[in-house]
Amino acid sequence: MAEKTTQYYVPAGSPWPVLASVGLMLLALGGANFIQQSTDVVNNEGTFGGMLLAVGVIWMIGVLFMWWRDTVKESIGGLHSDQMYRSYSQGMLWFIFSEVMFFSAFFGAMFYTRWLIVPWLGGAGTGAMTHELLWPEFQAMWPVVTAPDGRVTAAMGAWGLPAVNTALLLTSSITLTIAHHAMVANQRGKVILFQAATIALAVAFLCCQVIEYIHAYDMGLTIDAGIYGSLFFMLTGFHGVHVFLGTIFLTVTFLRVLKGHYTPENHFAWEAAAWYWHFVDVVWLFLFVTVYWL
């Protein structure tokens, strides 16, 4: 294993992890109270949840900034070894795999709904007309475009904005790969150019997604418009959140490119951001095919 290095860098004690736990606690406590206080499902009078959540977000950003500042210093300070690179890169890949599994839960819910629940509610199998009791206007078709309250919503077509979005994300993956090759070839100008293009495409995607949501709400497709709205907004919403985080990730590594932090041999963080970006791209392709198209 350890061919080149005989010693593995074990960092000294660090205050950031435990402070990050405090941050998560603030996020959870603030988040739960904020959700309860801004909806009227349970009795929670008060307004402190939002405040606490905001404090948690700022706290978390601060702690993660300091934590990663330490790792950046270690990286620039030459403490990283090949073995450490393997640890970091394998860790990142397993993290991305865990994200894939998170999306799988929602994709699984969608296929179960399409293939089993909707036909069953329509009377398949037993012939029982369950929906007659629950939801008189129900029609066993996908997407389910009649909402429980009788509203008729619309299926989100694939060939308008979503197709544009697909093109944007696929192009951004190409520009990022060009930047990656330039990084390895030590062509910093080219990295800057193509990474900037990637970030611009990412921002364009996010803007299009906002327009798409406004469009959906105009057509009556809201998150509470039955199972189609639930799945549509949760799947594309979580994807959008990941695109947003990926954009921040790319922006941070872009700033570090400008500062000259990376070398052709040592640019793990940059690579991790690129992997993350390809991951959100692949998730989008699945979304495009299964949510919008088919």
């Binding site: 294993m1 350890a2 290095t5 005989t6 010693q7 593995y8 860098y9 074990v10 960092p11 004690g13 660090s14 992890p17 435990v18 990050a20 736990s21 405090v22 998560l24 606690m25 996020l27 959870a28 406590l29 739960a32 959700i35 309860q36 909806t39 349970v42 929670n44 403490l79 073995q83 640890s87 394998q90 860790g91 397993w94 993290f95 795999f97 865990s98 599994m101 998170f102 839960a105 929602f106 699984g108 819910a109 179960y112 709904t113 089993l116 629940i117 069953w120 509610l121 199998g125 369950t130 629950l134 939801w135 129900f138 429980p148 809201t222 509470d224 039955g226 199972i227 907004f233 949760m234």
Partner: protein
């Protein structure tokens, strides 16, 4: 290369709060899990006190439901899982000749999320007892089936959901750390098929964790949005289905039970060869059996749902897949027995725990086989037979293996032998009481006593009385362990342990002094 490497041994609170040392973090995990074990145990005793006699006497039914719920959550996520992560932290770097875990700061974060998550979860129990109007803690069972948790869940459900998110983050980071450590930090010459079985079982467990914990996060997220944002994942009146919840939950839940038992297999596979003075029988088959169990665990989830109703093909598929798991499990039990066969057996305390693990876990496995038969399961479903089954695999299964591990490695951790008398007391009292506690549950279950009720029909009274007596006895027995631990960890009283501790045990952990120094294997050992 080594100048930046020297750390002054940290002291005081900072040592524990800011730690990047796998041994310190391992100790934190182990103590945290022991505290949670006692907290969850007290909840179990509330349940058993109520069930001591028929009729309602101590708590009201809603609080009883809160106790069954939080007992399950605390034991699964607070006691068993962190205990094994603690063992992994302590032992994996020692076993593979690594200086530490691969990602030490993340390791610290994985741990310190847990006290925060459990503070959040347990605060709802504290409020339920002390606050005005007794707002209920989660009361829908640890499986939090929709719509009990979505439509009908109390206000505390949202706090429960976010605490589960935190536990998930902790588990995923811990699992990533284990995989990366094993894949990347092994000493030269430590090939995969030379890894101690504990390392193998943990590697596979970590894989299971990374696959299923995000799915659990998805499930709780859907419950949260169903509760507050009008989604209808689990609401048939909006085109969803409560059964969808069960599918997602058990896709997490079944691998989860292997997450809680595979490291136990690893522990027992370390201990039995030492006291049989023979190498483990069938090492390679153990590795493949563990892998098979892990893969099959993704294909059996719906056996928890036979009573819900599903197509016949589904029932048959999940029944046969479930029964298939008994093959690799049988391989393991066979190998443990074969390891002991004609060995020079001695029965030190860890060996006693390990042997009772093999016997009692097998009882739990056999009742699991009975539950795997779909037509029989429809009869046994939601009865005390199920409670007996999963407590046999979790208490004299997973938890006994933990005890075995603690007695086996305590001299290495602390430098002193455990107190033999109180260790024996702990063992014999636990062994007798655990069977008094859980064995009669098979009978009342088959006779029709349903689980999760605060009361029962009169014909079950005698059995329940003795079950409760067993519960109190088992609970008190754990105080003996507390004393053993205090004596070894804090008072440092006891016979000095040698480097090898036992009679010629196998493994790199026995090549470092007892107690293991703060930093070990700064330069990796060479494995031939």
């Amino acid at each position: 290369m080594s100048d930046h490497h020297e750390h002054h041994a940290p002291t005081g609170l900072k040592r524990w709060l800011f730690s990047t040392n796998h041994k310190d973090i391992g100790s934190l995990y182990l103590w945290f899990s022991f505290i949670m074990f006692l907290v969850g145990g007290l909840m179990a005793l509330v349940i058993r006190t109520e069930l001591l006699y028929p009729g309602m006497q101590v708590v009201d039914p809603d609080f009883f439901n809160q106790m069954t719920t939080v007992h399950g959550l605390v034991m699964v996520f607070g006691a068993v899982m962190p205990a094994f992560v603690g063992l992994a932290n302590w032992m994996i770097p020692l076993m593979i000749g690594a200086p530490d875990m691969a990602l030490p700061r993340m390791n610290n974060w994985s741990f310190w999320i847990l006290p925060a998550a459990f503070a959040l979860l347990l605060s709802s129990v504290v409020l339920s007892i002390f606050a005005d109007g007794n707002p209920p803690a989660p009361n829908f069972g640890w499986t939090f089936y929709a719509p009990l948790s979505s439509t009908y869940g109390p206000a505390s459900t949202d706090f429960f959901i976010l605490s589960v998110h935190m536990m998930g983050i902790s588990s995923i980071m811990g699992a990533i750390n284990v995989i990366v450590t094993v894949m990347n930090m092994r000493a030269p010459g430590m090939t995969m098929m030379k890894l101690p079985l504990f390392v193998w079982t943990w590697l596979i467990t970590a894989f299971l964790l990374i696959v299923v914990m995000p799915v659990l996060a998805g499930a709780v997220t859907m419950v949260l949005t169903d509760r507050h944002f009008g989604t209808s994942f689990f609401d048939a009146a909006g085109g969803g289905d409560p059964v969808l919840f069960q599918h997602i939950f058990w896709f997490f839940g079944h691998p989860e039970v292997y997450i809680m038992i595979l490291p136990a297999f690893g522990v027992v596979s370390a201990i039995i060869p030492t006291f049989a003075r023979k190498p483990l029988f069938g090492y390679a088959s153990m590795v493949y059996a563990t892998g098979s169990i892990a893969l099959l665990s993704f294909l059996v989830w719906a056996h928890h749902m036979f009573a819900v109703g599903m197509p016949l093909a589904g029932m048959l598929f999940f029944m046969y897949m479930t029964m298939l798991i008994s093959v690799p499990t049988g391989v393991k039990v066979f190998n443990w027995v074969a390891t002991m066969w004609r060995g020079s057996l001695t029965f030190e305390v860890p060996m006693k725990w390990a042997i009772s693990f093999v016997v009692l876990f097998t009882i739990g496995g056999l009742s699991g086989l009975m539950l795997a038969f779909t037509p029989a399961d429809i009869q046994y479903h939601d009865s005390y037979f199920v409670v007996a089954h999963f407590h046999y695999v979790l208490v004299p299964g997973a938890i006994f293996s933990m005890f075995a591990a603690v007695y086996y490695w305590l001299p290495k951790w602390t430098g002193v032998m455990y107190d033999r008398f109180w260790g024996e007391m702990h063992f014999w009292n636990s062994l007798l009481s655990v069977n008094l506690l859980f064995f009669p549950m098979h009978f009342v279950g088959l006779a029709g006593m349903p689980r999760r009720y605060a009361d029962y029909a009169l014909q079950f009274a005698d059995y329940n009385f003795w079950i409760s007596i067993g519960a109190f006895w088992f609970g008190i027995s754990q105080l003996f362990l507390l004393w053993v631990l205090i004596k070894a960890c804090f008072l440092k009283k006891g016979e000095k342990a040698t480097m090898e501790v036992w009679d010629n045990p196998e493994g790199l952990e026995w090549t470092v002094p007892s107690p293991a120094p703060h930093h070990t294997f700064d330069t990796p050992p060479i494995i031939k």
